[in-house]
């Protein structure tokens, strides 16, 4: 059984007003436990609406979301519990820090969840900070004294501290420099490896998605356009371009090579993979028709 399933999930903004807009028009998808899912789609494709539905922030117009086989809206009063199980890190989460110290900010979620034991809380806060790559020495500081990248990691730690089964991050690397981006992506990968959590990462960066995702969910005009392995998705360069998306730059190199008449695969999407595939091509050992695996 899939961990998360949606059935004909539909959502409309401003229903009954002149601004009515269908954001999601009947999405069906299934995500298994422990998967790392990349979510892509142009602005307005419905991807942010989808992730907010998954953690119960928005209520579906119709259709269902099943978490472990149970409809999350079965008991609407219990919806808060769902938000502890499906943690959502918003875009630019650093603007949502508010406590006096980083420590208290991270502790806010678990305290709300009902964790009262001080030692237990302390363990949770420190573990979350470590997962997010925050130094111990930062915990007693005011969140407002941190750098941009540190603030964002503090905000991520606050969600991790709720120990969610599913961690959803909406553009966690937007606006960061290459080092900040690499750190956050590596921390997320590490977190998922150690905890076995399911992770959904929404991003506009195809290179980021290519680096971390097992499967990629492509949203377009409120529909699930494609949902497949990362390799298969990035083979669809033409299709992605048509819906306002791109393939990673290394994939473009191989698409161009193919155009020039080279016998290469176009399922190349990470740098390591590209280096091997290009070497094989140059050495001429791709002749059995095998593409680099």
């Amino acid at each position: 059984m899939a961990l998360i399933e949606t059935h004909d999930l539909r959502f409309v903004y401003g229903k009954g007003t002149p601004f009515e807009k269908v954001a999601l028009q009947g999405a069906n998808l299934a995500i298994n436990e422990g998967e790392f899912i990349g979510v892509i789609g142009h602005t307005g494709s419905g991807k942010s609406t989808l992730v907010q539905l998954l953690n119960g922030l928005l209520k579906p117009e119709s259709g269902q979301i099943l978490l472990n086989g149970k409809n999350i809206w079965e008991k609407p009063k219990k919806i808060r519990d769902i938000r502890f199980q499906v943690g959502l890190v918003f875009q630019y989460p650093e603007y949502q820090l508010f406590e006096e110290t980083v420590y208290r900010d991270i502790a806010f979620g678990p305290m709300n969840k009902g964790i009262k034991d001080k030692d237990e809380l302390d363990r949770i806060v420190r573990t979350a900070a470590e997962f997010a790559g925050l130094k111990e020495s930062l915990l007693d500081k005011s969140p407002f004294d941190l750098s941009g990248g540190e603030k964002r990691r503090a905000a991520i730690a606050g969600v991790i501290a709720m120990e969610p089964k599913v961690l959803i991050l909406d553009e966690p690397t937007a606006g960061l420099d290459p080092r900040g981006r690499d750190r956050i992506l590596n921390q997320i990968k590490e977190y998922r490896k150690k905890t076995g959590s399911t992770v959904l990462l929404v991003s506009h960066s195809m290179e980021d998605i290519a680096r971390v995702a097992d499967r990629v969910l492509v949203m377009n005009h409120g529909n699930v356009e494609m949902f497949d392995t990362t390799e298969k998705i990035f083979q669809q360069g033409q299709h992605l371009a048509e819906i306002g998306l791109k393939v990673p730059q290394v994939t473009q190199v191989f698409l161009e090579l193919k155009k020039l008449g080279a016998d290469v695969g176009t399922d190349v999407y990470t740098m390591d993979y590209a280096k091997n595939a290009a070497l094989q091509f140059l050495r001429g050992s791709q002749s059995e028709g095998g593409e680099a695996q």
Partner: protein, 299 residues
């Protein structure tokens, strides 16, 4: 404006006039809590020439955004000088003229749009400058056409996509007829299509309107489109040169926590493995051609 004399620097042939000149600029942010002020720029000098497209690179906290804000007197140096078209940015009396010469576009388009209709938003700047109405009409129409948003002139800005909003923000600046536009990470919040729209608009500003462009960005593929790249690290100039020159310094850039375009990295790797691939590859097309040439000429 040609009286900023730096006669001691007979560097390149003086083909292009200087638009912005920063000379040994220091800058510190004063603290509010009694801690010592934080110095962000430590004696940085650079020149932006008329009609050039210059990309500023540097990690967060490197000082590149602080530098960009010196280019239209949002910030003033605590040491050294910045000249815009020969005007000293520290001279209060020149402020209006400096801001008319250099416009600025920021990261978040939502924070830059003020009106409820696109054309009113674009008219906001020229109105503030006191330009007569009939002339404004023309300026606004021209500006909207230049960014490809004329058809949207009666739309509500908040209903546009991110790339469209950013283009309207750019039109608002163009309508003031600046000689130079400084872009501070204008694509950071946009999806791939929005990024492309904005980059195409920037190319057009430079090529068709002759506007000098300074682009601060984290995206190496955007910097690759510039005439010249300036890399700032720790408040100082690290390297500058054409994109080909700068991006061929992979090791140096990595050391300073910067990236190179993937196409450049792949090409340099193959070169390091002994293949005959040029070291200054920038785009996927060039990379593919280089690999193809290496393969076909080697047989």
């Amino acid at each position: 404006m040609d009286n900023i004399n730096k006669p001691s620097e007979p560097t390149e042939p003086a083909a292009l006039e200087v638009q912005i000149s920063a000379q040994d600029v220091y800058f510190q942010y004063d603290s509010t809590d009694g801690t010592p002020p934080k110095e962000v720029l430590h004696g940085i000098s650079m020149e932006i020439r008329k009609g050039e497209f210059v990309a500023l690179l540097g990690h967060n906290g490197s000082g590149k955004s602080t530098m960009a804000k010196h280019m239209n007197a949002i910030l003033l140096p605590s040491g050294g000088k910045v000249y815009v078209g020969g005007m000293d940015t520290a001279d209060d009396n020149l402020l209006t003229e400096i801001r008319r010469t250099v416009g600025m576009v920021f990261q978040n388009p939502d924070n830059q749009l003020v009106a409820t209709i696109v054309e009113e938003d674009v008219a906001f700047g020229p109105e503030n400058l006191g330009i007569p109405s009939p002339e404004i009409r023309q300026l606004v129409d021209d500006a909207l056409k230049a960014v490809g948003m004329y058809e949207y002139r009666r739309h509500a800005p908040h209903k546009l996509s991110g790339g469209q909003k950013q283009r309207v923000a750019i039109a608002g600046i163009i309508a003031m007829r600046p000689k130079c536009i400084v872009f501070d990470e204008p694509t950071a919040m946009l999806d791939p299509r929005g990024r492309q729209e904005v980059m195409e608009t920037i190319d057009k500003l430079k090529n068709e309107l002759g506007i000098t462009v300074v682009l601060s960005t984290h995206y190496m593929d955007e910097a690759a489109r510039a005439d010249r790249v300036i890399v700032i690290d720790d408040g100082k100039l690290l390297i500058e040169g054409t994109p080909r020159e700068v991006f061929s310094q992979i090791a140096l850039l990595r050391e300073h926590h910067l990236d190179v375009p993937q196409a450049t990295e792949l090409a340099q790797y193959l070169r390091s493995m002994g293949y005959d691939i040029p070291e200054d590859v920038l785009t996927p097309e060039e990379c593919a051609r280089a690999i193809w040439t290496a393969k076909t000429s080697g047989q």
